[in-house]
């Protein structure tokens, strides 16, 4: 396997207010090569904060602290805000959760994609538009011309998500952090979007951090899985071995899924053990 693209050691994310300190991520270490790494865990387990902290996109009053965040041998913590802006989008892209919040509601979808493209290349307007429509096509949007001229509220939830993906893939990043990129997509479109990402990983050697709470999907799509709970990594394994996971938390998540072939009256609900919070974080290196 190639060497690590991204190395993170002892990452903490804290939100301090007068009254209290919320620790969203508590000392996790992991690395990502030119592969597909899935991060799963329940809501609030710190998945998004992990993704955002790498790009230094944590809003005030959040604070990031880490022994090491290296990308491609470069120390990201040492970069200035200006140099960081160059890394963002250009080398590392982030598809954010909540496409509707991330898109500007009063600007046409197409203009937003073209702008994302033009910021990093010196393309002309017409060229940017061509590329944008091409990209919308690639993420399986029918009628890309109509969508190009729509406002965000005129597109369906799933289309919004694909628009975000198109916007993030257009500068051809080395590492893509995709935060629940397909949660609003139906399975067939989801598969095609994943195929696009897969192709980029296989052909261009892009690294992919795939944040999701769909365990089945992560198990079949990714190479490795990191399971987070309460800001820590409770377990890590090869994706195809996820079904045999040992940690009771992972088991609980797997059992909560409905299954087409095994109908039951009530779904089993996760029972949390307070001890899990205290368990030390597991390292998830390549």
């Amino acid at each position: 396997m190639s060497k690590a693209l991204l190395e993170v050691e002892d990452l903490w994310v804290r939100f301090a207010s007068k009254k209290r300190v919320v620790e969203a991520v508590r000392g996790i270490s992991f690395s990502v090569g030119r592969e597909r790494v899935g991060i799963v865990g329940e809501s609030g387990s710190g998945k998004s904060m992990t993704g955002r902290s790498i790009l230094r996109l944590i809003r005030h009053p959040g604070q990031v602290e880490a022994k090491k965040i290296h990308f491609d041998g470069q120390d990201l913590q040492a970069l200035s805000e200006k140099e960081m802006r160059d890394v963002r989008g250009h080398k590392i892209s982030l598809v954010m959760q909540d496409p509707k919040f991330s898109l500007n509601p009063v600007m046409k979808v197409g203009d937003q994609i073209s702008e994302a493209y033009r910021v990093h290349t010196n393309a002309s307007k017409t060229e940017a538009k061509e590329r944008s429509i091409e990209m919308l096509n690639a993420v399986q949007i029918r009628n890309p011309e109509r969508v190009y001229d729509s406002y965000p509220h005129e597109v369906s939830g799933g289309m919004g998500q694909r628009i975000m993906i198109a916007m993030m893939l257009i500068p051809e990043p080395d590492l893509l952090i995709a935060d629940e990129p397909t949660s609003a997509l139906d399975v067939t479109v989801q598969r095609r979007v994943l195929q696009i990402m897969d192709k980029l990983v296989q052909e261009r050697g892009m690294g992919l951090i795939f944040i999701s709470h769909d365990l089945n999907l992560v198990a079949s799509f990714c190479d490795r899985v990191i399971i987070m709970y309460g800001g820590r990594i409770v377990e890590t394994c090869r994706a195809d071995e996820l079904q045999n996971a040992k940690h009771p938390y992972t088991r609980g998540l797997l059992n909560a899924l409905p299954d087409i072939h095994k109908p039951k009256d009530q779904l089993s609900v996760l029972e949390r053990d307070p001890k899990w919070i205290e368990d030390p974080s597991v390292d998830a290196f390549l």
Partner: protein, 309 residues
């Protein structure tokens, strides 16, 4: 799930910061207290807030603070410099005590501010939200009218109104309000356009709420924060416009101690008796600064993006 290290307060403070209020009143108090805390935490905003509180207090207790009657003329004591003969800020050309006039003038300023602040934004909000929510020809008509008002410089339009209506403080306020609402209508409409397609509006439509109820009860609260910020920032400008009208002799009429009119009458003596025009000018400056600081701070405090998380 994440780790909180919360210090649980007891007693009244604990009640005010409770995470699960027990009644409607309690919930409002908790909200108010949270707002108050962020205001106090923002030093400059708090300074602005204190200046405005001071203005209100001065206006209320004017008779106690004033050392002289603001309108009694005394030809024996004309044009006294500050700190002479018991006149803290000196006297003007008619021998009236400037300190007392400024104190009483705060009432007029406050009157203008309060009246404009309660008419122009409310009217602008109404026009903007109705226009944005209903859309169609209502939107077209209302926005064209707004555009017409926006096309004139504010002071010029106010001047035109006052000359049509006749000089006087009430007409000046009316004129200022008439010229101040269009930008608020614009802001409110822009906000409404982003709000009206949201699911929470769809939800209340499904429950049978009428248009008026949706606009007043559901869209207004979402426009409030950006509007409050804008109004606060504009207050300085409104005070200045009022003063400008007073200065031109179209606002408050002498002998009323309106600050702008005071500057105007002090203008002729500006070279030899600088204090007559400077003192009310300083008062205008301080109050405008107060509103600006508060407005800036409120922008940070009320920012809906921040309120989200």
């Amino acid at each position: 799930m994440s780790i909180d290290t919360t210090s649980h307060d007891q007693g009244f403070k604990g009640w005010l910061t409770s995470e699960s209020p027990e009644s409607r009143f309690h919930a409002q108090m908790v909200q108010l207290y949270a707002g108050w805390q962020s205001l106090v935490a923002n030093r400059l905003a708090f300074l602005g807030f204190m200046i405005i509180v001071l203005l209100v207090l001065v206006a209320i207790f004017a008779p106690l603070l004033a050392t002289h009657d603001p309108s009694i003329q005394n030809l024996k004591t004309t044009l006294l410099p500050p700190f002479t003969g018991g006149h803290i800020l000196g006297t003007d050309d008619s021998g009236r005590d400037i300190w007392s006039r400024i104190i009483y003038g705060s009432r007029i300023t406050l009157f203008i501010v309060a009246l404009v602040a309660f008419t122009a934004p409310v009217f602008g909000l109404l026009v903007g939200t109705v226009s944005g929510y209903l859309g169609g020809w209502v939107d077209t008509v209302l926005m064209r009218i707004t555009d017409i008002f926006l096309a004139f410089p504010r002071l010029v339009l106010a001047l035109a109104f006052v000359s049509a209506l006749g000089a006087g403080i009430e007409n000046a306020i009316l004129a200022i309000s008439l010229t101040a609402w269009p930008p608020y209508a614009r802001i409110a409409r822009a906000e409404t356009l982003t709000i009206r397609n949201s699911d929470y509006i769809a939800a209340i439509q499904l429950q049978g709420a009428g248009r008026l109820r949706i606009i007043l009860g559901h869209i207004w609260p979402m426009c409030m924060s950006s509007l409050i910020v804008r109004v606060t920032l504009d207050m300085a400008g409104i005070i200045l416009t009022a003063a400008g009208l007073g200065f031109l002799g179209l606002g408050a009429q002498p002998p009323s101690p309106e600050w702008g009119a005071m500057i105007s009458s002090g203008r002729q003596f500006i070279h030899d008796h600088w204090w007559i025009a400077t003192m009310p000018g300083l008062a205008i400056f301080i109050v405008s600064l107060g509103f600006n600081l508060l407005g800036d701070g409120l922008r940070d405090i009320l920012d809906p993006k921040k309120a989200q998380s």
